[in-house]
Amino acid sequence: MRKALKYSPLLIVLLCVAIYFLSGFYTLQSGQHALILKFGKVTDRVTQSGVHYHLPTPFESALKTHVANVQTLPIQNAEYGNQERFTGDENLIVVKAAVSYDVKNLGLYLFSTNDIKKFIRSTGQMCLSQELAKMTVDDAMTTGKAILRLTVKQKMQGILDGMNTGVHIISLELTDITPPAKVSSAFKAVSDARVKKQEIIKDAEGYANTVIPKARGKAASLLSSAQAYSEEVIHKAQAKSSSFNSLLAEYQKNPHIIKNQKFIESLETIFMKATINIDSNSSQSVYYINEKPMGKEPVVKR
């Protein structure tokens, strides 16, 4: 007992030393990386999630950072004025964007700049301004969006690499591209006009789509009635021809009889209809035969 007490000061000192050395243990959550610094100098030891050890404080330290996570940073001017920017055709446009990035070099990311987020934001703003300055307001709001996203992203990466920031730009999202509020109604009017234009054209197409088939239908009916007429004409001719042929055959057998018969038949028909005046040279009187509408039978008056 006394012996233990005797040693106790040394034990306490040793215990203190042990605790000191144990303080080098540290844990990292998933997605967290730690950079080990030896007397403030970056080593190439980068640890990932789990329990790790480094020499205690004055010798080594661990800088923990979330690396695996993609970080998103809005690029817009909260600092000054409104969000309007110039476009190439000297119009104003409001652009809101957000950049996603991760860390490709932890040492550079942590130690090359005094405020990495400020650098990313400013670079993004500059690139946006420069790229928009080349586009028309219509391009920027419609077809140019994709190009804008891509070029700004590439340009940002180039500049940030030039400044050795260790940042990797993943993407740039244009969250909002709108005309300034004061002219938004005029822009709305343009898009309405664009819709109206399409409507007008659709209407005309509709007209064309009805008029032409109608004409085709009419053309088809014209043709088929012409064909029907042709058939009729030919059939009629054939019918007449065959009846004449048979009559002719009879006629050749008995020319006189057929001729008389035909003649009298015709007279019959004519006298049934017409008014007949009979002129007598001697008596100066006139006979009326078949005076209509007295009767159907021929009547002779004197």
Partner: protein, 293 residues
């Protein structure tokens, strides 16, 4: 045994005291300046642990070695074509000569005020040589954004010499318009939109009219074509019929003429006709003689 405890303790305490007084640590992203009685004697750029004599012989100043971004508040300038613009710029600088820096710059704030003033005056001077169309243009070749940035960087660097810092990059972050001028732009934009809207409508009308006219034309062509074909078909049929008639009647023209004349009479004489016959007419002979011959 007590002695050993004491000696271990003394050893540890000595190490701690030595560490605290005779070493200096330069961290990553920093530059250390070793001072001898307040006089800078050595610049340490490599991070790590270094030996020094204890105070008051040696001391240590730590200077930021990172790239520092300064973001002055925007100010208004005039372009060569007398347009008011508000420019928002950024300056990136780095302390490259810590001893010079320590001698000339008392504090960071003072430096930044100086940089801001310089930037404002040089931007003003430089922008006086450029027009708005040099900054903003749909033709990318006309844009001198990058040139301006470079010239600004160069000008700044030339005028900041002797401070131990290097201006690495100056860039125009944003071009804005003062409130009054913004209004004029809005007005112009509205007028332009108006024009575009009208153009769309006119284009629509034009296309629609073309389509309608085209449709009308096509339908008329279709009909005319059909009429032509119908006429041909009819004509051919009639020709064929005529041929049949011709071939048939040719067999006995005299008889045909007789029959055809009778038919013609039947058609010519109708209810409205009056026929005047002579009493002696052979037609009436039978009728008048009362059946006798």
């Amino acid at each position: 045994m007590r002695k050993s405890t004491i000696s271990v303790s003394i050893f540890i305490v000595t190490i701690i005291v030595l560490y605290a007084t005779c070493t200096m640590v330069v961290n990553q992203g920093e530059t250390g300046v070793l001072l001898n009685f307040g006089k800078p004697i050595k610049v340490i750029t490599e991070p790590g642990i270094y030996f020094k004599f204890p105070y008051p012989f040696n001391s240590m100043n730590i200077i930021d070695a990172r790239l520092i971004m300064l973001q002055p508040s925007p100010s208004e300038f005039l372009t060569a074509d007398k347009k008011n613009l508000i420019l928002e710029n950024n300056v990136c600088y780095r302390i490259i000569d810590p001893i010079q820096y320590m001698k000339t710059v008392r504090n960071k704030k003072g430096l930044e005020i100086r940089l801001t003033d310089l930037l404002t005056s040089h931007t003003g001077l430089l922008l006086g040589n450029y027009e708005l169309s040099d900054l903003v243009n749909i033709d990318p070749d006309q844009i001198k954004f990058e040139e301006m940035n470079q010239r600004l960087t160069q000008l700044m660097q030339e005028n900041i010499q002797g401070l131990g810092i290097k201006v690495e990059k100056v860039f125009i972050k944003r071009i804005m318009l003062p409130f009054v001028n913004r209004h004029a732009v809005y007005q112009r934009m509205r007028a332009e939109r108006d024009r575009i809207a009208k153009k769309y409508l006119a284009e629509g009308e034009e296309k629609a009219q073309k389509l309608r006219a085209e449709a009308n034309r096509s339908s008329r062509i279709i009909l005319a074509e059909a009429k032509r074909k119908a006429t041909i078909v009819k004509g051919q049929a009639e020709a064929k019929a005529m041929k049949i008639y011709g071939e048939t009647y040719q067999k006995n023209i005299e008889f045909y003429t007789f029959i055809r004349s009778l038919e013609a009479y039947k058609k010519i004489f109708n209810e409205k006709s009056t026929i005047i016959l002579d009493e002696q007419s052979p037609l009436l002979k039978t009728l008048m003689s009362g059946g006798k011959r």
